[in-house]
Amino acid sequence: MDSKEIEEKIKAEAIRQHTVSVDPNAPGKGSTTINMTDGVLIPKKGEKHVFTSWRLTFFGALILSAVLIIFFPDPYRQIFLTCLRGAPVTFEVTIFSIIGAVIIGTFTGLGSVSKRRWINMICGVYVELIRGIPLLVQLIFIYYAVGSFFHVEGMMAAIFALSVCFGAYMGEIVRAGIQAIPKGQMEAAIALGMSRSQAFRYIILPQTVKVILPAIGNEFISMLKDSSLVSVLALEDILRCGRMYISRTFLSLETMLVVALIYLIITLVLSRLVGLLEERLHKNG
């Protein structure tokens, strides 16, 4: 192994540790997949250990919920109904924010691979800035910052803040996805007389989408969990509904148990869906 090879290995390793990694299980032929950090916990057929753990947790959570509701209807039935009232808000915030994050991430990712240095710089600074500040701090900051210029309601501010924050991570996913496409694809497009932007539009991005789809699913799950932070912005999501219930009844432990169970069940269902999506992509790819 000569020094150049070693250097490339080290570089690849550094990138891998930087939250984004190329899935080692992906078959080598053109269907590279990118996984974010908790991607290994996505249950897929064939990964028996993860799949069994997933099943155990999922059915455990379901059975526990059922037992609580059936055998201890007072107060659990009431708690469940109250907390679930926050679910639409949680989903609304998550879905709109992930759309915003994908849009911001696409531009950031393209900017990071741009040939113009100043665009690289802007995108790099944005990513570093966002990654360096806790999400809760960003949320509250953006809420007040935006609020002091415009009159916006909590929902808009929350979606904006979550989009800006996750857009940075999404940008890194898009960048890694673009870089996972073999160099020859760009060269072939350029050799045919296409401009770089045409090559991106018709050749690189359509292939990138397929590579990063599972990673986006992953981000969606993270986003759903992190959306609980918006409860500080006077948004009535699942967590806030629970906390309001506690302030009325002082049933802290019981209520938080239910809140945790609801998040857990939603997250586990979504994980399985992302796993199925990945399996389908591998089969077709």
């Binding site: 060269e187 045919l192 007389g193």
Partner: protein, 246 residues
């Protein structure tokens, strides 16, 4: 058809271990309708020189003229040059997310602004020429290497190029598929296409080349007709190389 003139071309790469002189002061002319084959050991700068012709690599110094137009001049739009110079790669580089037909029609539609119907007619004609008209709706990963390379040739021909560059077109192929690709290339040569190739197929060089160029360590060592190069090379390095591979 076109004339390619490479004049005093040099290309350096900056690597962590210093500057690598990939091509050193190379000059070469491919006349209209000529087939020129570049041979030489790996790492001798053959591919780099080829890639300079359509600007995939930017020359460090020297000039490349295509039909008298200097491609290295800042005023030249290199994209216009690329439209007229087809290229075939060692690793095919077909677009895996598009069907064979769309692979071929994409550039004529987007770059040449051809309408879809005539582009598809053209594509079918070219697919017939390379013997793959029944594969139009298939995606490239389902084709064999030889079939993929023939599609890649059809894709390059769809831009109606004045000249074609081939960068080791058969090196990634299993032996039994090499012939089907070489046959297509031979028929192109017979039709008078200007071709500049990097290849290890000495049989092809003998059969089709007007000129054979031997490169080593970035320099053009010797140029001559195939008969002369294969039977009676002047330089010792050429002799050595040919003894090793023949």
């Amino acid at each position: 058809m076109a004339k390619i003139e490479i004049q005093n071309l040099s290309k350096d790469f900056t690597t962590p271990n210093g500057v690598l002189h990939a091509v050193k002061n190379a000059s070469l002319t491919v006349n209209d309708g000529e087939v020129v084959v570049i041979i030489g050991p790996s790492g001798s700068g053959k591919s780099t020189m080829l890639r300079c012709v359509n600007g995939l690599e930017k020359p460090t110094s020297g000039h490349i003229l295509i039909d008298g137009v200097d491609t290295t001049a800042p005023s030249t739009d290199i994209r216009k040059i690329r439209e007229d110079v087809g290229m075939v790669f060692q690793s095919f580089n077909l677009f895996p997310h598009l069907t064979v037909l769309d692979n071929i029609t994409l550039a004529p539609i987007k770059v040449r602004k051809m309408d879809r119907k005539s582009a598809e007619e053209l594509a079918m004609k070219l697919l017939k020429r390379v013997g793959l008209e029944e594969k139009a709706e298939v995606h490239p990963p389902q084709l064999s290497g030889g079939q993929q390379q023939r599609v890649a040739i059809a894709r390059a021909l769809a831009m109606n190029p004045k000249a074609m560059l081939f960068d080791e077109p058969t090196s990634a192929l299993d032996p039994e598929m090499i012939k089907e690709v070489l046959d297509v290339m031979l028929s192109l040569a017979k039709d008078g296409m200007t071709m500049l190739l990097v290849t290890h197929e000495m049989g092809f060089a003998r059969a089709a080349a007007d000129k054979v160029v031997f490169m080593d360590k970035g320099e053009i060592i010797e140029t001559g007709t195939p008969e002369k190069m294969f039977t009676n090379p002047e330089s010792e390095r050429t002799q050595d190389f040919l003894n090793h591979i023949l």
